[in-house]
Symmetry: C2
């Protein structure tokens, strides 16, 4: 049951698919002022889920958050915003409901920060659509919400393989070497990411011919080794006479303009850039069409970056700063003057005032950027997604973005941005998974091993032990940090076994992903969504349900040799040291301390559930999805509904993709359904 | 058994008290190169304890640390240095030994960072004294080391009370209000800290007469209410004609000089300053004598700050930066140019090159600052400590410092610097306690509630539940952050009860502190120091032994309602909601999940151990230390050795300070010893 309550004249974010009529009654649960302040009194036991990509726990209580897409790589626990704006919450406790604040500008969520017991949501203006959702519990509410905002993006199957990235692999030979090292060490790999240095001076849709003299040929060479090249695309277009994208954008009037009609000048990687007006349908169509430049060279996947949009400086502000700097020359820089100087220079990047300097030409009229700030990355990715549907109607293209708003989940996934090689960011990765899933973002994952700062062998290994479960499984790191390709460490064999296990789990993970996407469900769920009556399950912030059969409880503490795990029911613990070395143990409901050595992957299977597993492969296309081992915890009868398809075409709905599998207590397997050509065996 | 191995010609840090002859044999355990690279191959089970004030766990394995005293308030887990340099380690595993690298310059500890199994310690030069300590186990080794470096600082008893701080309480009335609010709400309080704004333009040993027109009178007024004022002292002396400290320093030649003999100019709070040459005995004597200015106004405690020394900029470098800034004006600031600009401006503060610009006149000759960098804060505090011994021979003066080196522990405590209102910093606080204790720093604690960033009511309350056990118990927060005096939140009653409990625990905490100081022992110990044969105790990173009777296991997770606790033996759980509301439960050895509500303090008492408790009081001098309740877990016979004294004089050694208490299984109390005038009762 969904009620839409409209205040003022909301901007059409297109987050919600189709028209949804406003309800004329009063807003339930909340008291509101001016259609822009919404407050709810929380009971002591209430949990607040949601907010997608953000800091802190699965339970968002106890902090204040802002929906304001920001390029901030310092994911400290006191940050209020990361790269996305995901304004959906579920309150679960005394009352249970979901609420979506469809609002494209800055929105503050004070969830027990100012007053422990009060949730206060505050918008900049009273123009907002509020959707209140009631249902049978949080899982049902999330599903209803997902139905409201439309089906989640589905990537090609190869995008569930392991990807290796670096800012940046500088040339073809460096990539050949990275691929060779993985292949030689027997480490499965499906993709290599091209960060900003593959371009000429950071110019979108160009390729540096000195370092990548024949991208099409190189892409083909890589594909023969089972590797996809995935280039980055940035939001800003370099201002440079003779650069075709710049000139076309100027000619077409596709760039964001200042109040006086001149193109807004920001500084990003290339220095001075213009931003394509992603909220203008014509500009979007033009920009989206440009991806063809790379598609034509055999590229099948992209990541959209810097699309909050990140602004290192605006040309206007930069000039002011240089003028003001003069005032500091030669004076006694005491506390106050030092602080002013730091504010002046530190305030150059991602300055809120800069976002007030430019405008969008939207179908509903001209709008100043800051009022619709959170829609920029969404619409950049939409530009690509809509173009792919035209350019490649029968083929899935990998697409994920840094910045996002709900609605974008239909066009691409996200990675969780520029995290750090911190132990606490393993847990943050875990916390974000269900929060993002409920907001529609299924294809997602963190930069495994950490993007900023220097990783360690132990951190990377523990992080991969979580990462093998996330749909996007990518190892990525920043310029100037320690190299973190897994073959660079001492325990290469352990890394190989952990990543190999990912490929064994692919039939299960892909099936669970597809069912979640096609049914508007969550692939990663908090324990309490599944075990609604279990009071202790409500407390658990470091375990997750992954799909219908598995619970995970990764280690995220340095030097740990195990961890505490809560079992909400009797489960089978499965312990892997690589695909061939498996130990099993049935544990009773309750609290356990579980030893988990550094090179072990441990997960838990629910009673009468199955996990279909392959024998693995060096890349996704080498994985045999037709002969599957069944790992299960069968007490009476285990059953599983398997989804599979060719992984490339867009024909998702065919019943032939489903196979029903059952295993009885004597270990007899039966399978049926239109996809029943597959063969199964017990393992 | 201690072996001193000398390489080259080490600088005399005076960390070790007395002369200690070098051993002529080979360095055990380590292989070394050039007397400056020391490597040790770690076994999988080895734990490495030590490094005092630093990031990460009690077990320091898995990261790389630098001894390089730094003013960095961003205590991220990827930092390598904080404010102190504490070069003592204990390896406990296949082999067990302690090692102290007595070296005043930058020292790197790669403890399994580059290679998981290798510890590599690297100095800048091959002039170093290495002390290797062998003993019966880590506790014995720590005790031997402490004997080597001399007795830890002992503060006055009132310094074990609760302190309230803020950068800054700006005037007398603001402080009166803070005290009044505490007193009205019945929240015990013993001290108010004066941060930098009590001075005139941040000039040491001045008092702003507009805001504090009569400090002596005000200090007296506060003392009548049981409150001590504790002013901050900074390392840099403002360059200002007519300012007596500046002029005396110039006249005496007491400031650090550049190579050409001119005084080095750095920028800190006052703008341009000179640094007193803390390594020059004459300058130290002069600077220490200045504390008399404030002692004479009734001040009995100080905190020394910015004594790494922090440098916002050097005048020389600042001018260069302003010149180089010109090169950026008007150019296209692309990736590389932006990065250069950020490095240029960001590199102004705490720049390693600046530390090479000035010199010390040490008894053994002139030495460039960077070579002895880690001794500056130590010697600033020594200046004060030595002065206090002369100025106030019969009275303890509170003194703690931000920067430190081992040796400084004889002259003052430390606080753990400018932490943040992060949940992870509660755990960091816990991790530092035993690490600091083994290095000699007993009087220590963190800024409760967090210094930087904004606290929350829940964070502050959970942190106080740990803070009531730390000798220094101070609530402190930074300019521009949320106010965090406890009366500003909704649950004032809960805060009152938690802080009141601290005062009830004072007889135990003070006794344990004094015994640890007088016997070179640790007050806070990792579980494995006490339960040497317990393999699981070695894993525990979030519980501590506090003194001889208590184990603590604080909550450090947002929204948690309890936590897992490991009991290395059968213990009594004691649960307090304030002094009057106590519940007890005996728990068996092993793993437990313990409910701990937000307003509850839970700790554990070892079998046949006692905890003497007072009835509390509004400040330390109101606490009755002579009529004590005994909280115990008596199975056969509980015993406790109580230390107590007047808390002000320096006569620590008298046997009259000790009382032996026993309680038998029937609850009969007996007490003896020269301090046996005290009366005890069971609670």
């Amino acid at each position: 049951m969904i009620k839409k309550i409209t205040y003022g004249a909301p901007f059409d974010t297109e987050a919600v698919t189709g028209a949804y009529e406003s309800w004329q009654g009063e807003l339930p649960y909340f008291s509101q002022e001016e259609g822009r302040k919404f407050s709810y009194r929380m009971a002591e036991e209430d949990i607040v889920f949601g907010l997608g990509e953000n800091v802190r726990g699965i339970n968002k209580r106890g902090w204040i958050y802002e929906s304001k897409c920001s390029d901030d790589p310092n994911h400290r626990e006191d940050k209020r915003s990361l790269y996305g704006a995901h304004n959906f919450l579920i309150v679960d406790g005394k009352e249970c409901f979901g609420v979506f604040f469809d609002y494209p500008g800055k929105l503050t969520f004070d969830i027990g920060y100012t007053d422990r017991n009060v949730m206060l949501i505050e918008a900049q203006t009273g123009d907002i659509d509020v959707y209140v959702i009631e249902g049978e519990g949080p899982e049902d509410i999330a599903k209803q919400f997902r139905g409201l905002v439309g089906r989640s993006y589905i990537p090609p199957k190869w995008a569930f393989g392991y990807g290796q990235s670096r800012w940046s692999y500088m040339n073809e030979d460096e990539i050949r070497e990275v691929v060779k090292k993985h292949r030689e060490a027997g480490i499965p790999l499906d993709s290599i990411y091209l960060d900003i240095d593959y371009m000429v001076r950071y110019k979108d849709f160009t390729v540096n011919e000195e370092t990548f003299p024949d991208l099409a040929g190189f892409a083909e060479e890589m594909k023969e080794q089972g590797i996809h090249l995935v280039p980055i695309i940035d939001a800003g277009v370099k201002i440079e006479e003779g650069y075709d994208i710049y000139e076309e954008g100027m000619a077409g009037g596709y760039f964001c303009k200042e109040e006086d009609g001149s193109e807004f000048v920001a500084g990003v990687w290339p220095g001075r850039v213009h931003f394509p007006d992603m909220l203008n349908a014509d500009a979007r169509k033009w920009f989206g069409g440009k991806y063809k430049v790379l598609l034509d060279q055999g590229i099948e996947g992209f990541w959209n970056d810097m699309n909050e949009p990140a602004i290192f400086y605006s040309e206007k502000h930069l000039q002011e700063v240089f003028e003001q700097l003069e005032e500091f020359r030669g004076i006694n820089l005491d506390n106050e003057a030092s602080a002013s100087l730091n504010r002046l220079v530190g305030g150059l990047s991602n300055n809120e005032e800069d976002y007030k300097l430019f405008y969008h030409e939207h179908k509903d009229g001209r709008v100043r950027h800051d009022k619709v700030h959170n829609l920029f990355g969404y619409n950049m990715t939409r530009a690509a997604g809509e173009a792919f549907e035209e350019l490649e109607p029968d083929k899935r293209i990998l697409m994920f973005s840094r910045s996002s708003y709900i609605g974008m989940h239909r066009y691409g996934g996200i990675w969780t941005g520029d995290n750090l090689s911190w132990w606490s960011h393993i847990l943050l990765n875990l916390h974000m998974m269900p929060s993002l899933n409920m907001c529609g973002f299924l294809y997602t994952g963190a930069d495994l091993g950490g993007f900023g700062s220097n990783t360690t062998e132990e951190l990377l290994m523990r992080w991969l032990e979580l990462g093998i479960f996330t749909p996007l499984m990518r190892n990525h790191s920043a310029w100037g940090t320690r190299r973190q390709e897994v073959y660079r460490f001492t325990q290469t064999g352990s890394f190989r076994k952990i990543i190999a296990l990912r490929y064994c789990l692919l039939p299960y993970l892909y099936s669970e992903y597809m069912k979640a996407a096609l049914r508007d469900e969550m692939m990663f769920r908090p324990l309490s969504f599944v075990y609604a009556g279990d009071r202790f399950a409500r407390r658990v912030e470091d375990q997750l349900m992954v799909g219908e059969s598995i619970m995970i409880a990764p280690v995220y503490e340095q030097n740990a040799k195990g961890r505490y795990v809560y079992l909400p029911e009797r489960m089978k613990l499965v312990r892997f040291r690589g695909p061939e070395d498996r130990k099993e143990e049935v544990l009773e409901k309750g609290h356990h301390y579980v030893d988990i050595a550094l090179d072990e992957v441990v997960f838990f299977i629910r009673p009468d559930h199955l996990v279909p597993m392959s024998k693995g492969g060096s890349c996704v296309e080498k994985v045999d999805f037709d002969h599957l081992g069944l790992l299960g915890f069968v007490e009476k009868e285990g059953s599983y509904e398997l989804y599979d398809d060719d992984g490339y075409s867009r024909d998702y709905e065919s019943p032939s993709h489903y196979t029903q599998i059952t295993v009885d207590a004597e270990g007899r397997i039966s399978s049926g359904g239109e996809g029943s050509r597959k063969e199964f065996y017990l393992i």
